[in-house]
Symmetry: C3
Subunit: 315 residues, 3 copies
């Protein structure tokens, strides 16, 4: 589970949290994803994983795009897939996560892509497996490493490098594993991180993040705004007065988008609550990269699958 570097070459590589990876591994993942995107764009043949490789997705939370991006990535690399439906699975029969993971390993699965509502679930799963590699596709409010890689990819593609970029993370940070993974990765790569959102939805912020109460004054200065989805399904009580007020104060309305510079970009991990976090008109703004992020997602997941199958070596 310790990742990536020559010192740990003999260990199984899992992709649990970017904070566990060396800079060199992160660099390798991003460059590999860029290479794969180039091959695909030029209609060159894609590399394949070892013959007979099986990738299983095990999702304990609903997902369209993340699960299907991993399945599509596996298909493009020539792997077989098992899409395990957690809701109709043995979990109903009272089985523990650990036993479900061990069962998948016993079937000969090579990579388990896990989404789970509990923080730390991916780590626990990785410890259960002797051979199978685990990729964290989101564990509770903890981490979502491939989403952070997507956002780094998108920003590097636009700006060349991350160092010195000013990035505002806007919205429900409290419930967001995307925010946690992105803030860590952006900081590590040298970006200046700002955060804004309803006071009830900010939660404790890392020391390197500058909190701004009102996003409007900083919008003209930032290079990127990372919008977060209002995770209404995670909110146990009403943490915001109304969606209307949320939009008025923190939504990416046309008026707010007009404050952004021409070169700035707007990111969102999707799915999007249109008319809440972002207006329809701004979704059509060329600075909004939501669907570009999804395209990048397939290449990042291909790179992640290749990386864990190659033992996490940053070569």
């Amino acid at each position: 589970m310790i990742a990536a570097d020559p010192v740990s070459m003999t260990q199984k590589a899992d992709l649990i949290d970017l904070a566990m990876l060396s800079d060199r591994s992160i660099e390798h993942l991003l460059e590999d994803a860029a290479w794969l995107a180039r091959l695909q764009a030029e209609k060159e043949p894609l590399p394949t994983l070892r013959d007979g490789t099986t990738v299983a997705t095990l999702f304990f939370e609903p997902s369209t795009r993340t699960r299907n991006a991993f399945l599509q990535a596996a298909h493009l690399l020539g792997a077989q897939t098992l899409a395990v439906e957690a809701e109709s699975a043995s979990i109903r029969k009272g089985e523990s996560l650990e036993d479900t993971i061990a069962a998948l390993e016993a079937l000969g699965v090579d990579v388990i892509v896990l989404r789970h509502p509990q923080a730390g679930a991916a780590w626990r799963a990785a410890q259960v497996c002797v051979q199978a590699r685990v990729i964290n596709a989101g564990d509770g409010t903890n981490a979502h490493p491939t989403q952070a890689l997507i956002d780094l990819f998108a920003l590097r593609q636009r700006f060349g490098e991350i160092r010195g970029l000013k990035v505002l993370v806007l919205g429900d940070l409290l419930h967001s594993r995307v925010a946690r993974s992105d803030l860590w990765a952006l900081h590590r790569q040298g970006a200046i991180c700002l955060a804004s959102g309803p006071a009830t939805l900010l939660g404790p912020l890392p020391p390197w993040v500058q909190q701004v109460t009102d996003p409007d004054p900083v919008l003209p200065e930032v290079d990127a705004v990372l919008l977060l989805r209002l995770q209404r399904e995670r909110m146990e009580e009403e943490l915001i007065p109304s969606l209307r007020e949320y939009r008025a104060r923190f939504g990416m309305t046309s008026e707010r988008a007009a404050l952004l510079r021409e070169e700035a970009v707007i990111l969102h991990p999707a799915p999007v609550n249109r008319g809440v976090e972002i207006d329809d008109a701004v979704m059509r703004d060329p600075r909004t990269l939501v669907f570009r992020q999804m395209q990048i997602g397939v290449f990042v997941r291909m790179a992640a699958l290749r990386w864990v199958m190659q033992g996490g070596i940053a070569c």
Copy 2:
């Protein structure tokens, strides 16, 4: 979205509604399906789609046979598949159909096979996509073009041509996209169309359809009876007094089947409510083609996939 003909060769081909296709395209689809059925019967190798083609099924209504017929068709043509479970998907998170479609396109999906409870959904989906082709697998009470192609195929296989055939559509026309698609296609190909069913379930009929109150007098004259499933899950209130009375007046009982000529055929899009629309004994009647229709379904879906991937050119 405009289909099929040389004049629209540069446009993306979608299969939304047979009424949008030229006669030449319909002819091409039927002939291609017949060719594929012949190859399969003779155990000849089947043609394959472009390497790396991905077909996604996105079903917002339950389905066994239509979804699996498309998946099987895609497999036989060498394509990869993604079976997107709409019920456990981002839709729960409040995402619009348009954004779900755009996400699938961003994943690199080549064909989206959509079933949706709203009429017009497939059309809207096709307009969202720049590259991905959309095949309508049923949109509300609007259209189900591949089912109509199956029925045309079955009738042509039995009778050589459709022109001049007398076809009775029997049952719940009000809720039936199959009835709408079939009546249009049969009329276009020159059949004489009759319709019968409970007055509450007939709805407005096209002008070329002759309504008959009691089906029995016309049964000895018709070449084919197209039975429709009682769509109990679509009925908001009790539109029929009882299933027993429905069967007595409109069900294909052994007594009614005995009124049909020896050469006549009985079609049903399935799934069948045995003992309601059709009796067990009639299901075993050699004139009943229900399972033959399902076999044809795979070849028609293969032809549909090939047609949209080839740009809808009627070649």
Copy 3:
């Protein structure tokens, strides 16, 4: 549906119940599974099924491991798969099992792997199909033939042969298709069968099974204990006083495991209710083969698929 032997070579082979197979067929299945396991261990190429073979899983009960073991087995043999979700299927529209099976056959499916809550369902399904072979993946409380093959495989691997082994089946025999299939197969292969469990959960036992009220006195004598899962989802009323009492009297606690001989083995079909049928510590005991059984499961299912596709010939 009549299986396996030269006398029935011209009939379609289905795998419904081991009691319908000749000794020679059972022997062939076990040897084929062992050969496949050896190929896989030595990273030799695996044999493939006829090009274009499609295997459908149709599960009317939740399952992670059995369904995915069959899907994985099909993939390793180069087959296409259709995982039919019974819960979101036409069954909701009132379709009978027979019509669902006939629909899958009409799609060109070669093998249907069926799990169903009613005893006899697999037999009925096999009678519906003209071409498609049916493998019973569990029908009510009746049979689960591939699980019994797994257990025979595990015991032979450990002890060389079954003849003369003393095997205790422990737990909820009343609701267990695994118990029924295993007791038959073990007896047929010459094992001495004992059974123990709460009186309310024993049910009628075959005459060759020796019932023991308290398992403890026999534990030092047995070669294997086959634990059964407490099928709480099948119990219509409270048949046991409490899980705590069940564990105290029949659970494989560390104390009971200490009574077993060094060479004995502990089997469980999984999923496991840890702390009820078996303690955490015993799950880690090297004599416990639960995850080994799952690994064997893939090879047994590959052998089953090959056997039905080859016409059940014991060659």
